[in-house]
């Protein structure tokens, strides 16, 4: 490919980038996800095309692919490589597959997205043949990594089919040889030894929910009969750690109105109970959370304030020697500070719904995401991709539903997102948009999702740009998932080695 050089009257030309005025300066972000801060006057000179070619800033902008002089072939190739790296999740296609083993549950969480049936209504269980057909479909995914996540209701209530699915998947995988992982999302309130032994034997990870100390947790996560679940969860947790090991058990929390302002207390609970990370999840506007909005919901600004307070508290903990990670921050920091992208279905461009994850309901219906499944339960089948008993892989994963979802979720094409400096670190959620506002593409200035993510990204950027060396070390310990090394003493030569 032959490119023309810069026009005669300018010494350099722009490479694609977005900018934002923030922290009293200009933040520039390029097509590969690299960023640079410029003083406003330097930015003005850059924008006007009058930057001197010998200035340090000129070389910085050139090295970081914000401007090009001379040939375009090399900068294009390098930016394409970086962009491709950021979008590496596309290569795998669908890697996260969620099986809804049952919609029965022994709890009745106030914000539950699942229309919870009585714990004995077995007709809402996934049957073995549905599980088999689902796993058949799963293994037709081109992804070399497959993660099968058992969900519900409470998936342990249908343990027989869980067993069947695991063993059938392993049987298929003996020939196909993908990297296969299993996770069970359970409330752990009724787990027994036999089930945990099975998880250990088949290397199944356990993901559970802990909303905070007992008073907070029991407020929103009661058992079906109404009593608290915290004690039973603690017992289940201890047993789980004993049998499968602490490194295979993780927890996440959902923030409700009651938890706002309490994030430090919730972190304390996590630390006390032996966890090393937390995910500050905001309430999803689906299921019971919608009808319970008055009691549970909150304006986005309040969540952001709580998040910032919680994050700062966790940073303090780290600085004082306790290694503890906030998972959402770790994810965003990986996107901001490293050349790599991350998985995370809820914040991808194009959206991960369908192309990165899929959910198989107890009746064999396949949806682009859990939220898509919830809409169908309320009568709107917009995100139904197909059914494992009736349709083949092509119809399910190459159909209209996925197409439309992808088309509506590329930040480069969305109003408000297209010119946003954060867009390569961010994503879109067309299912959420449709469920809450009736359109897969929302009005950005009034979008809570946008407001929340922009505020969090800006808060993190502030730490990145203005945090001292210790803060940088903590942030990097989250990204690399390694507890901070003790500072090497100046006189320690233990690490010198011969060539």
């Amino acid at each position: 490919m032959i490119f023309s050089s810069v026009s005669a009257d300018r010494t350099y030309q722009f490479l694609p980038f977005r900018f934002m005025r923030v922290f009293g300066k200009a933040l520039l972000v390029n097509q590969g996800g690299q960023f640079l801060m410029l003083d406003n006057d330097a930015f003005a000179r850059f924008a006007e095309g009058i930057l001197g070619t010998n200035e340090d800033i000129y070389l910085d902008l050139k090295a970081k692919h914000f401007l090009a002089d001379g040939g375009l072939e090399l900068p294009v190739e390098m930016l394409a490589t970086k962009y491709r790296t950021k979008k590496a999740f596309l290569r795998s296609f669908t890697s996260l597959h969620m099986l809804v083993l049952t919609i029965r549950c022994n709890q009745k969480c106030k914000y539950c997205q699942v229309a919870c049936e009585n714990a004995n209504a077995h007709r809402f269980d996934m049957q073995a043949d549905t599980a088999k057909k689902s796993v058949d479909l799963i293994f037709q995914s081109p992804s070399p990594h497959i993660k099968i996540e058992f969900q519900g209701g409470e998936p342990l209530l249908n343990f027989d089919v869980l067993r069947f699915a695991v063993e059938y998947a392993k049987e298929l995988n003996a020939h196909i040889k993908k990297h296969l992982e299993f996770v069970v999302c359970t409330n752990l309130t009724d787990v027994n030894r036999e089930q945990l032994d099975y998880c250990k034997e088949h290397e199944i990870y356990i993901s559970t929910s802990l909303d905070g100390p007992q008073s907070l947790h029991d407020l929103c996560r009661p058992m079906h009969a109404g009593e608290g679940s915290h004690d039973r969860l603690m017992a289940g947790l201890e047993l789980a750690r004993e049998i499968v090991g602490a490194d295979r058990v993780s927890a996440l929390m959902t923030a409700t109105r009651a938890s706002l302002g309490q994030f430090p207390r919730i972190v304390d609970e996590y630390v006390a109970k032996g966890f090393t990370s937390i995910f500050f999840r905001s309430l999803n506007p689906y299921g019971r959370a919608v009808s319970g909005r008055a009691e549970l919901g909150y304006p986005v600004e309040e969540f952001v304030r709580s998040y910032q307070e919680g994050l700062d508290y966790i940073l303090e903990l780290n600085l004082r020697g306790t290694w503890f990670v906030e998972d959402y921050a770790a994810l965003l920091l990986t996107r901001i500070l490293t050349p790599f992208g991350t998985g995370f279905v809820d914040l991808q461009s194009p959206s991960g719904a369908g192309i990165a994850c899929a959910i198989y309901d107890y009746d064999g219906n396949v949806y682009v995401s859990d939220e898509g499944r919830m809409l169908a339960r309320n009568g709107d089948k917009k995100f139904l991709m197909g059914n494992v008993h009736q349709h083949d892989y092509r119809r399910v994963f190459r159909g209209d539903v996925i197409q439309r979802t992808v088309e509506s979720s590329c930040v480069e094409c969305l109003p408000g997102c297209r010119d946003c400096a954060f867009n390569i670190w961010c994503g879109a959620d067309p299912v959420r948009n449709y469920a809450t506002r009736g359109d897969m593409v929302v009005h950005k200035p009034s979008d809570d999702f946008c407001q929340r993510n922009m505020a969090i990204i800006q808060h993190l950027l502030n730490k990145v740009l203005h945090g001292d060396g210790d803060i940088q070390d903590v942030l990097w310990s989250w990204i690399t998932r390694r507890p901070r090394a003790k500072a090497l003493s100046c006189d320690s030569e233990d690490n010198l080695c011969d060539a």
């Binding site: 072939e73 490293t338 100046c490 030569e493 080695c497």
Partner: protein, 378 residues
């Protein structure tokens, strides 16, 4: 290479051979040179040559090629020498007691780096046949072997031949090819190298800046930057273990932290980054005023660059710099990288508390050294 003077007899052409103190069966002796005192009269039948400390009528009578040197202590069992009778020079092609061994693939180069310690020369003959023999003699081989030059990739498929010989005779040796990477952007060539399936191969590629203008100025070829980057990309595509080497000069040290960021952002697949102090010989000596900078003056940038990469879990090393000019937090990255045969210490080093851990200096450093060399207390 380490060299010694000698006087030869019964020798008209250059010979290469492996040092031995005896005990080689007669039918295997033709590759070996026997080390004996001039006063001894051993059975020397079949050896390529004998190395003695004086004239010996015993060997003269038997017309055995003789190499006379002043003392016999420099020779270790298994060393490989070449003896050139016309100049009276012994060259140690391989020394068993050293960590750094190298094979000169070619003296030709497609760059003209300002600080090149081994300026390119035109070669009329290929060295490959010689080098193949050398590799065979080296067996079972050193822990690490560098294939260097000039620019090794200029010999094209002969480089594959050399690597195949390494696989055959030196299966446990880690081989590192030192290259400017330019020819490695040729996908077919890189694929050919990859298909060898050498299990212990690293390609070390030199990159000196984060912008083409500066890199090209240092290597003396316009467009080299682009070639090298494409070479690195191609190597990554074929799954090679890649090391990136940055020599520190007056021209690039100011941008060192930015260069570290450039390497991380664009080549995160690198297994290792080495920042290298400059050797003040060859073209570096010729261009000294243009390229020289006191390492003490770039200690801050070097510390920042090493810390930056280390934080991002890219393994980093500092080569060719003594511990005293490095700020204490940097010392953990320093390696003993200078080839033993040209490695010296200074008088002030005798009282230094960390001498045994320090890489010392190049023999050629007498040309110019840091003004901040001092012994470190215990």
């Amino acid at each position: 290479m380490r060299c010694l003077n000698c006087q030869t007899s019964n020798m008209t052409v250059a010979l290469i051979g492996k040092v031995t103190y005896g005990g080689i069966p007669t039918n295997q002796r033709s590759d070996y040179m026997l080390v004996v005192r001039a006063s001894d009269k051993p059975d020397a039948k079949g050896y390529r040559a004998v190395i003695t400390d004086g004239d010996s009528p015993y060997f003269q009578k038997r017309r055995i090629p003789m190499v006379c040197v002043d003392g016999l202590t420099s020779f270790s069992e298994g060393d490989i020498l070449s003896v050139e009778p016309t100049t009276g020079t012994i060259m140690f092609l391989y020394e068993v007691n050293t960590l750094s061994n190298a094979i000169l693939v070619t003296e030709e180069c497609n760059c003209a780096c300002l600080m090149c310690p081994q300026p390119p020369k035109h070669e009329s003959e290929s060295r490959t046949q010689f080098n193949c023999k050398l590799i065979r003699l080296m067996a079972p081989g050193p822990k690490e072997l560098a294939l260097t030059g000039g620019e090794p990739t200029l010999v094209g498929d002969q480089l594959l031949t050399l690597l195949r010989e390494c696989q055959k005779w030196l299966p446990d040796t880690n081989v590192i090819v030192l290259s400017n990477g330019r020819r490695l952007s040729d996908r077919r060539y890189a694929e050919g190298l990859a298909r060898l399936g050498h299990s212990r191969l690293t390609i070390a590629v030199a990159l000196y800046a984060d912008v083409d203008r500066l890199h090209d100025e240092i290597v003396g070829v316009k467009g080299a930057f682009g070639d090298t980057i494409r070479g690195l990309y191609t190597l990554a595509l074929y799954g090679f273990v890649i090391e990136i080497r940055v020599v520190l000069l007056s021209l690039n040290y100011r941008r060192l932290p930015k260069i570290a960021d450039f390497l991380y952002s664009n080549m995160p697949f690198a297994s290792h980054v080495a920042f290298m102090g400059m050797e003040t010989t060859g073209l570096a000596e010729k261009n000294l005023e243009r390229v020289w900078v006191d390492p003490f003056d770039y200690r801050q940038q070097l510390e920042e660059a090493c810390g930056y990469l280390s934080q991002r879990m890219i393994p980093v090393s500092v080569y060719n710099l003594p511990l005293c000019v490095l700020p204490p937090p940097l010392r953990r990255f320093a390696r003993k990288s200078i080839s033993e045969w040209k490695n010296i210490y200074l008088p002030e080093c005798q009282v230094c508390g960390v001498k045994t851990k320090c890489g010392g200096f190049f023999e050629s450093s007498g040309v110019r050294r840091s003004a901040y060399i001092f012994p470190i207390g215990d």
